[in-house]
Amino acid sequence: MADIGYITLFLALVASIYSAIAFIFGAKGKHPTLTGSARNSLLAVCGLVSISVAVLVYALVTHDFQIEYVAAYTSRDTSLPYLLSALWAGNNGSLLFWGWLLSVFAAVVVLQKRDRNRELVPYASSIVMVTEAFFLILLLSASNPFHKLLPVPADGMGLNPLLENPGMILHPPILLAGYVGFAIPFAFAVAALLTRRLGDEWIIAVRRWALLAWLLLGVGNIIGAWWAYVELGWGGYWAWDPIENAGLMPWLVATAFLHSTMMQRRTGMLKVWNMVLVILTFSLVIFGTFLTRSGILSSVHTYAESALGPFLLAFFSIIIFGSLGLLYSRTKELKGDVEMKSLISREGAILLNNLLLVGAALAIFIGTVFPVISEAVRGVKVSIGAPFFNQVSGSIFLAIILLTGLCTLIGWRRASIKNLIGNFLWPLVAALVLGIGLFILGIKEWYALVAFSLCGFVLCTILYEWFRETRARHRMRAENYLKAFWGLIWANKPRYGGYIVHIAIILIAVGVIGSSVYDVEKEAALKPGESMAIKGYTLTYKGMDRYQTQSKLVVTATLSVYNEGKLIGELVPEKYFHRSYQQAVTEVAIRTTLLEDLYVILVGWDEDGTTAFKVLVNPLVNWIWIGGGVLVLGGLIAFGPGQDRYEYENKW
């Protein structure tokens, strides 16, 4: 069984190498049969890797403990969803998943673009096949998921209980899909460089792929943060852990890419910059893969140290230096013939937005790899603490939010000052009113006031823009406002999807600001009957309970929650002790409202019944998750076909 899995991977490697070579020769020498066979070979790769994945999944579901991977991550009492998710729980399985996703995406591209982009597709597919071959080589050598055990164990180790959570089922595959998705835009960019088709063709070809990868990566990060919040139980959701950063950096650069490609399509500017961005994005993806799997940086996320490090580092170097070198050789042909007229324009705002995003990614990158560099150069090991990341990214992100608001109402080309003032008047007034209102309500910290007012400003600019455009359409077509608004979205899906994504970012920003600046925490040791107070809540400890289930011993502590004297609910934090795992698992209890979370951690207990709790109040934290949902909505809407006619030119 395991052998089938391994052999299919080997066959896939052969097919992918053939495909990579045949695509190049077929396209260069204009041999359609060769290109056709390369295409079939690519589809075969997809089929073969799918068989391999199916074999591993089958082995997981049927408890085939002869395969080391199955024994390492499952046991006989693991439930079905977690048997399936064990596919990506460990290093080798997730690498197989990587290779499978890449082969599927490659297949979709060749099938989707059967009649389009005939010149770019062969080269792009070749690049993808080279990448696929690389990962297959890893899988066949250092990271074999089908490695067998002798003697065959009677039962497996079981899944680490910390991973038994719905978030853990979704977070890795979505994140990995986002990662892998960026291979496609990258491949098309390199194809454009190779074929010297340096106009908008490659950008238009990959718009949806870039958007899909960006959306998956963003959602994957948010789910990861949510899982950390509800499962890891330290009350936070982002620790600037190197692996978290590895998922954030490509996303920031990809956000810049989405904006600047929009600008290239409208104005013809930034051609070289777009190439750099997509190369940077995919390079960061490979670098992130390297960080996660090499063990070079200590992190709560790292898989056990493996031999993959040097391979991935080498591949990263080839990718980044190879593509940048190729880009350099084509720079003369890439120079745009359009110059930016004025910085006070949408072009200027997008350029600034790009610089800020890439700047943030750069700062995070430096902070993340500095420990390694410091050790290599000075022999001294240092760590970069969270304050650096918080301060730097906090300020940059606020600036980006401000830009988001300005961008909506600034016109293309040059905006006149009179125009600017006219557009911004109402949102600015609203933001000031909001700021004053918040001050009266008790928020005195200036940075919070500024940040919230900024968010309010941006929200108002978007809503104001919606109102103005709806009103214009209503007047033009005599539709009622509701119908006009719906029609607007329908006719301008990418743009309105973008607006909704901006709103989502604002919601997330509000959640982050609220929970970072105003979180309160308190520890208490209570005997049954005693109470503690925190921020208007009173929690009374009622007692402890224990019970056994099939796989674990559960200890619960019940607290009654009162708000200003009234009983509003009960919270039951737990700890449980798995039979097969030595470590305890803490389950926090959260009372969730739009305004704030009441978050209780069961810390421990003494023989005499004194039980220690840590209680936190996290204001506005749920706006982050709500924002995540809105992000998905906006992203999905943006997939719709865009307009070819640029209506902006009629407006300004």
Binding site: Y73, G367, P371, K381, S383, E523, W605
Partner: protein, 128 residues
């Protein structure tokens, strides 16, 4: 002319950002030692916030005050260091496993830790 304005403006922004980043960087840099390295420097870094890496000695783990105070020793082969930790113990903390602690060495030679970061291979590879 316009080009130069862009460049100068960009340079100013870049320098300002770089300076701010540098300051934040300096403040947030935390030195990282093994137990032996820490003890070698003991006198010069009393009270400084540092990180130390070592292995938790089995049988040295004690919990007090209903789990809110944790005492243990970490070793790195030769030297050992007593540690007192106030805070929530991460689920992944275990005797015998690798851990990085952050805090300061007090005058009595005990390390007062405020952050525990267990390195947990068992997160993705189960314990044996």
């Amino acid at each position: 002319m316009r080009r130069r304005r862009f460049l100068i403006g960009g340079l100013i922004v870049f320098l300002a950002a770089g300076y701010l980043g540098y300051i934040a960087f300096q403040r947030a840099t935390i030195f990282y030692y093994t137990v032996s390295e820490l003890l070698v420097q003991a006198d010069s870094i009393h009270g400084q916030n540092v990180r130390v890496n070592g292995e938790v000695t089995p049988d040295s783990v004690e919990r007090e005050a209903a789990g809110r105070i944790l005492r243990f020793t970490i070793i790195d082969g030769e030297e050992s260091l007593p540690v007192v930790y106030h805070g929530i113990v991460p689920d992944t903390f275990k005797a015998g496993s690798d851990v990085t602690i952050e805090g300061y060495l007090d005058s009595a030679g005990t390390f007062q830790a405020h952050t525990l970061m267990p390195k947990c291979p068992s997160r993705y590879v189960p314990s044996n």
